[in-house]
Symmetry: C3
Subunit: 256 residues, 3 copies
């Protein structure tokens, strides 16, 4: 008996999003809601980062939502999920479904054959609420910029400052060897939108950002939300028309 089923022609929307989420959080719930679609919210073990995944039913080509009124909740070992999605080709057909409350099934189909992965559902702890934050800055950039910026910063430090100053959105890392500063100015084609109430600059741990930007490969754009000494929010739109979302929240680096 099928409890729920969600099918998408292109695995690439899930490959990179699940991979990035699985590098940030160790385990996560999979909340299958009759009306809202498939959701997940989890914090990493050290409570520095949160991953929020929203996959509304509309982002699937075919789906069977649960018929019960209540949500179905599964627990995922995200390292396992990461290992599975890494085996997906971007052109594979992707199915997420369940026949029982004990396991989740991922199916990858291509070229006339099918690969089925059954994942035992694990116990998950309390599901965290998503924070509500009053950001003063929201910028949208091409995924390449964030990927380059984070990897460049990694050359000299394990901390990166992210900020805006007078129409420029920048990353800045300083180390003994030198300073790395990737930036993009208002009006540049790589800066898709820019909305800043004030100039801000806040430091974040680079390790988490390196994991989060793994999602950039499957995304058309990346939204970054900032405020002085506030968490950073990274939002990737996924799905054929960007119906789904993968959001990360990252706490600022506390100065030692």
């Amino acid at each position: 008996m099928t409890l729920f089923r969600a099918y998408q022609e292109e695995a690439r929307y899930f490959k990179y999003a699940f991979n990035a989420a699985g590098k940030v959080v160790e385990e996560a719930p999979l909340i299958v809601s009759p009306d809202k679609g498939i959701l997940s919210r989890a914090m990493d073990a050290s409570h520095i980062a949160m991953a929020v995944l929203e996959m509304p039913w509309e982002m699937f080509d075919e789906y069977e939502a649960p018929t019960e009124e209540d949500e179905l909740i599964y627990g995922l070992d995200m390292e396992e999920v990461t290992r599975i999605v890494r085996r997906a080709r971007v052109t594979d057909e992707f199915t997420l479904e369940a026949e029982s409350e004990d396991e989740v099934i991922v199916k990858l189909a291509s070229g006339g054959y099918e690969r089925e992965f059954r994942l035992r559902s694990i116990e998950v702890e309390d599901i965290p609420d998503e924070p509500e934050l009053d950001y003063t800055v929201e910028v949208t950039v091409v995924p390449d910029f964030v990927q380059d910026a984070v990897r460049d910063a990694d050359l000299v430090s394990d901390t990166v400052k992210v900020g805006v100053e007078d129409g420029t959105f920048y990353f800045k890392a300083e180390g003994e060897r030198g300073v790395v500063q990737p930036k993009v100015r208002e009006g540049a084609e790589a800066l898709l939108s820019f909305d800043a109430e004030e100039n801000v600059e806040t430091a974040y741990p680079l390790d988490y950002l390196k994991d989060m930007i793994q999602a950039a490969q499957g995304a058309e754009s990346v939204i970054i939300r900032l405020g002085e000494d506030m968490p950073l929010e990274l939002e990737f739109r996924i799905g054929p028309a960007g119906e789904g979302r993968l959001k990360f929240y990252l706490a600022p680096r506390v100065e030692e």
Copy 2:
């Protein structure tokens, strides 16, 4: 003086076949037969797998067979062979030849230059006979399927069951983390032929299969032969018209 010489315009037929064979067996004879072409048969050190290579003269664009009536026999350190063929570009021209009974020469030519590798012939032990087995199942699949199936199975176990059940050919691996089951059904484009007298399922060690499927890259199709509790046979056709063959035999996993 040339004792034998075999030339093929495309190194790719040999690159992947020798690479896979060299990962399975440590050393192997190179039997140069006046009429049958170039052959090899060897077991791995733990006698779990056998590699059989058949390269009839017809698969070469040019050749000089030995003029003597007897076969020439060289001994190859297959790790060395693997290292050489890994250096071949798929578009290189490939020559296998010998000027003496002491060494085998591999030549790779491309873009107007030539790279010559002279391999000292080593002592090889008795050459094993090829087993004659009464399989009850023979299926032909696209190489991608076998590659995906073996690598998927590797996510959860070091053993994989290979079987057929009612028109479906499948691999199945079970571990603590879950179950992985790649499969292809009769009628699917990835299943090129299907011939099964009975349903069978036998377990094999995954490590060997991971090495063997390295040959898939240079092959058009893969033939798999099975029988209950019998060795698995994997056959890759190589050469411009599939004149050559690389076959592997793999003993079932003994339950502990």
Copy 3:
């Protein structure tokens, strides 16, 4: 205030040259000359190899040479430089500039964003003179040949002989496992020029050559200069019309 500035539309000319130089020498001066362009000459720590980089102003699309009569001299930690250029895409726009005598700035721009790397200038020791040598052999080959030859040789030995014999330019490595001999004959398309006063053969340490050939990817051709028991000279032409040069000198292997 800009002390000097050199801009090139394509980072690829610098990516591979700086990468190779940075693998051979640990630190190097950057000599910015009002008339000659940007130069560098440095020996590796064990004084076996020298790297010489010549980037005349003409190889840049835009430049501001120093206005003073004297040269500006910066010291580069070449490991840092290597890490930066490895982050460059071949299609990035490349700028090398300085605003002070304390640091050098590398800018990579692409897709509407800019990445700025500020490198602290370090103390460099005496700048070596370039040797003047009377070679008896000069050959020009396609970069692929040198790359293949060095990597092939690496299969069997840590020393390689480089030589010419009767119209053939060759590399030769001998080990317990066999002999590897890449070669190219006069008249072959891969041998762009051949000028030999005598047959020579000299042995060189392979480790250095493996680092040096990293520059081949950005080059159209490689000039090799040789003489019996003399250093080997490898010259890569870089820039849109080959205006720039990266030269390596490598001392012969002393027989033990």
